[in-house]
């Protein structure tokens, strides 16, 4: 069953495409540096084709139907790509919504003398394009979220290195806020590294942690307890003056945990605990060795 709109589109396809392109370009926010004209033209033509095919199948209401699959795929592809390239949601939305205007123009020209049909068809097209634009927004945001998730993963991976500073001593500089998810990653990395290297001392350096509240302290205590259960000692270092103040004001009890102000003093303590002595070499004895 073919409906009036699809016939009109079929007849005036070239014109509609042209006016659609014009509407897209008149939007003053469009940044033509992000995409070239041929690409935009290609995308628009592809979308109009699949829209026409979907309309000709007779389904005018449900964009989740099988006939709309190609158009959903195309739209999804375009919006995810735009999300990755840094388009604004407005630009992506305009892409679909400006098709509305050019379709209305074509319909108006065709059914000028039959206002009833014109009204019906415009409502139909309107609804359809509205749901399509909502779908576009959805996929656009999904694309953005994927980017954010990927970046979070990357930050997590980068920000929790476990460094072997000496035989049996591990250091773990923590940079950025400690939330539950990161604590989990830090803990897992640290414990796995303790098993892998057989280290008996771990230094947790928090000089890169901007603020310590009771939750962060709770996470630190958890990490220290887990390390202790594994059979290794944990020293917390890099406690700045403000952090010491907050910890005391919040009434957090860190008395069971070894704490040091700097990584250097923590390392010294670790050497003491392992019975390692580090001392300056006498210059003369060095020369005699040479």
């Amino acid at each position: 069953m073919k409906n009036a709109t699809s016939k009109v589109i079929r007849k005036n396809k070239a014109q509609i495409l042209e006016s659609w392109m014009k509407y897209q370009l008149t939007d003053e926010d469009l940044r033509d540096d992000l995409m070239n004209m041929e690409e935009l033209h290609g995308q628009s033509e592809q979308l109009l084709d699949s829209f026409l095919n979907a309309l000709e199948s007779g389904n005018m209401n449900d964009i989740n139907a099988r006939e709309f699959e190609p158009i959903r795929d195309t739209l999804g592809e375009i919006s995810v790509m735009r999300a990755r390239r840094g388009y604004s949601p407005r630009e992506t939305g305009t892409f679909v919504l400006s098709l509305k205007q050019s379709l209305f123009d074509a319909l108006e020209k065709e059914f000028k003398s039959q206002p009833e049909i014109l009204y019906k068809e415009i409502i139909l097209v309107n609804n359809l394009l509205d749901s399509l634009s909502i779908f576009t927004f959805e996929t656009f945001i999904k694309g953005r979220e994927e980017v954010i998730l990927r970046q979070t993963d990357e930050i997590n991976e980068i920000s929790t290195p476990v460094i072997r500073v000496w035989e049996g001593i591990l250091a773990l500089p923590i940079i950025g806020t400690l939330d539950s998810a990161r604590t989990q990653i830090v803990m897992e990395n640290l414990l796995q590294e303790i098993v892998a290297t057989g280290s008996s001392i771990a230094i947790l350096d928090i000089s890169g942690v901007p603020a310590v509240d009771s939750l962060v302290a709770q996470h630190l205590i958890k990490t220290v307890s887990a390390t202790r259960l594994m059979g290794a000692e944990c020293i917390i270092s890099g406690i700045r003056a403000e952090i010491a103040q907050t910890i005391v004001h919040l009434g957090i009890d860190l008395s069971n945990i070894k704490t040091k102000a700097s990584l250097a003093s923590a390392l010294r303590l670790a050497y003491d605990m392992m019975g390692v002595e580090v001392k300056k070499m006498d210059r003369r004895s060095k020369i005699s060795l040479l």
């Binding site: 897992e188 098993v195 057989g198 008996s200 958890k222 390390t227 259960l229």
Partner: protein, 136 residues
């Protein structure tokens, strides 16, 4: 009934848990171990849980119990070889096993026990050899 073997090594008792502990088994272990401590007058108990991958609050409590009971009977308890996942689980359950000593592996655990009871291997050999002679 399944039992976990308890080995006597000098003044210490060595328990290696090779299977996942279920409640009955853990209770038996607690019982057997304390009986052995009193029978052999052991100075230290070393529990190797490197093969245990699943732990619950009951198992955590049993470990704590063994440690407390042993201490009353003048023996130190060392738990060695805990898996990272097990350690995280116990911490999340709020069981930090206060009063239980821990070590990375059996070797380090033995060292720790020897330090704890103020003995070292050399002294002990010197002490034991003349004892053997008199027996002969």
């Amino acid at each position: 009934m399944d039992r976990i073997p308890i080995l006597k090594m000098g003044p210490f008792l060595l328990v290696t848990i090779q299977v996942d502990l279920y409640d009955r088994l853990a209770l038996n272990l607690e019982n057997d171990l304390i009986t052995m401590v009193s029978k052999t007058e052991a100075k230290g108990v070393l529990i190797d849980i490197s093969a245990v991958s699943i732990v619950d609050s009951f198992m955590g409590r049993i470990l704590g119990n063994i440690a407390s009971m042993s201490r009353i009977m003048d023996a130190e308890t060392v738990v060695v070889g805990m898996q990272p996942a097990v350690a995280i689980t116990l911490v999340e359950l709020g069981l930090t096993l206060q009063g239980v000593h821990t070590a990375l592996n059996v070797e380090k655990g033995m060292e720790l026990l020897q330090n704890k009871i103020g003995l070292n291997l050399l002294n002990q050999e010197e002490y034991q050899e003349p004892a053997d002679d008199t027996d002969l």
